[in-house]
Amino acid sequence: MTDLQTAPPVSPRQSMSLTGATLPRLAPVLAAVIAAGVGALAAVIGGVGWVAAAFVAWLVLVVGLPLWSSAVEGGRKARDRVATLLVWSAFGLAMIPLVSLVWTVLSKGIGILSGQFLTYSMRGVLGEGGGIYHAIMGTLVITALATVISVPIGVLTAVYLVEYGKSSTLARVITFLVDVMTGIPSIVAGLFAYALFALFFGPGVRMGLGGAVALSVLMVPIVVRATEEMLKLVPDELREAAYALGVPKWRTITKVVLPTAVSGIVTGVTLAVARVAGETAPLLIIAGLTTSTNLDPFSDRMATLPVFIFYSITEPGLYVDEMTDYAWGAALVLVAIVMLLNVVARVVGGLFAPKTGR
């Protein structure tokens, strides 16, 4: 480095080296191999477990490579390598639970899947021989009801916020409240639905409709947000073009604005459905659990996949192993439904996204 004290004012440095000592390109690989070797050695000779061995190997790599780099390339490069190693380590560490989660659900859930598992209920079943038909149907009915309640309210509210309210006080208040609603803990939504229904039907009420109302509280803000974003993307020129043709505002909205934004809205709604389909807490409180199929959301308890999973684990009764298997099978089915909805949402969004082509 040039010494600042002796450097002449604003004068470029005399020497010019562009090379700078650099580690060979394969240095990280080499270091990783050595580190893995040390780890293996620790496992074989030291007799430590494979987790500890992996940790040792990681430590050797994260300390060793930067030290090597620091000796050859200098401190800045060494710090860059430390950062790179740590960022990739964080990534690797984060992937472990996520991969393990997916793998565990798949491997433990796949075994019990069968026609019977999907078409039988748990009515009168102790131990083996039951199915989750009742829970699948419950989840579908309640989620569908919640969608029917939330989508009109959510979309119309977004229309109000973007097309009519603009920056009025009411619109600002609603925007704020929608923000508040996004943060409502799901169990609180369940408590609300319970408190509301207890008012009409007395304490201890359990019904599917209550679950749908609770889920709607969670779903409406997501739908509003997604629709709002999409409506804002519709260019004003399009609205003005319609007005210039003498089309009334409400027809402009229903015939021009909403159709332009529809793919984005469908995507948003599908993601919202996927999100609430897996909600457990509110259903635990208001929909409860039953062993038989109940397709009537207006009376009695209604089983759903998440609640079924929860009770199979927390209150398995005598048949712990069988109930655990049921829980994993139900978890796999639930994850499959949610993933399917997500993929559908993305495909819909992707197919119609480039609206600006012509």
Binding site: L156, D179, I187, F310
Partner: protein
């Protein structure tokens, strides 16, 4: 009749106005409905929860007052969430950096997609994985901590064979919050203006120096709000914790024990609501109200910071 034309025009115009009126009315109506619904949530929770302020004894599960009941749960909620954030925030920032700056473009795209999918996995599945897989596999680690670091209050033990401890609950919450924090951080990192990154590179910055010079300062408020929104999610999360932790009413820093550890508000409601009746329900609803207020405050802070970051 010579004036057949004007009435037609007139009719169309009035239809337009009428339709406009109706449609505007309906959309404003649903906006107001949301307002009423939220007011409803507040009113019902207050009406059902506030009577619990006077409760004690049996209706507060043996505690002297409602605060004696809520405080340990609140403490446990905060403890689990803080553990979750301490674990999840650095990892999420790392993953977001990989996706935005380190990994080759096509791989990064796929990874971003996978992270989004993971954010959609239902919490009950995380809970199931937490109790049946994570908890069991953490037992040796807890054992080691108890043996070697037992003098620290956090790791006093005794370690349960099930591994169902506060630390496990925190880890499950961390895994759940990870995709959410990652998704927001990734967006913010990707939005860092190219010209500032190039300015740093042109000064001879290494990749890490460029990230510190141009990316982090720009993304700071976004990162903070991402962590706060993740925290909001972790605070209100019910099922994962309810499945991992036993319902207790203790204030304890002991992270690796079952009986002497803390529990959380949401989990406690979920586990006790089925068997509760009368005044106990009021007590539980009141604790839900407390949770609502805290989650709201955290989310509000997160959004305020994000909004300020967008402006400044």
């Amino acid at each position: 009749m010579s004036v057949t034309q004007p009435p037609v025009v007139d009719r169309e115009e009035s239809t337009g106005r009428f339709g406009d009126l109706v449609f505007a009315g309906i959309s404003r109506g649903s906006a107001i409905l949301i307002m009423l619904a939220l007011a409803g949530v507040a009113v019902f929770l207050l009406q059902q929860g506030l009577p619990a302020l006077g409760h004690h004894g049996d209706s507060t599960y043996g505690k002297d007052s409602i605060w004696g009941f809520v405080w340990p749960l609140l403490f446990g909620t905060l403890l689990a969430s803080v553990i979750a954030m301490l674990v999840a925030a650095p990892l999420a920032i790392g993953v977001a950096l990989i996706i935005s700056h380190y990994a080759p473009r096509p791989i990064a795209k796929v990874m971003g997609w996978l992270i989004d999918l993971l954010a959609a996995i239902p919490s009950v599945v995380y809970g199931l994985w937490g109790i049946q897989f994570l908890a069991l596999n953490m037992v040796p680690v807890y054992q080691w901590l108890e043996d070697h670091a037992g003098w620290i209050p956090f790791f006093e033990g005794p370690v349960p064979n099930s591994g169902r401890t506060m630390f496990t609950a925190g880890l499950v919450l961390a895994v759940m919050a990870l995709p959410i924090i990652t998704a927001i951080c990734r967006e913010v990192f990707a939005q860092t203006p190219k010209m500032h990154q190039e300015a740093a590179l042109a000064l001879g910055a290494t990749r890490w120096e460029m990230i510190r010079l141009a990316v982090f300062p720009y993304a700071r408020s976004g990162m903070v709000s991402a962590v706060l929104l993740g925290l909001g999610r972790a605070l209100g999360e019910t099922m994962a914790v309810a499945m991992v932790l036993a319902p207790t009413l203790l204030v304890s820093f002991n992270l690796i024990t079952a009986e002497k550890g803390s529990s959380t508000i949401a989990a406690n409601i979920a586990l006790n609501f089925g068997n509760a009746s009368g005044s106990k329900i009021e007590t539980l609803i009141f604790s839900g109200l407390v949770l609502f207020v805290i989650t709201f405050a955290v989310n509000f802070l997160g959004r305020a910071i994000a909004a300020r970051g967008r402006k400044g």
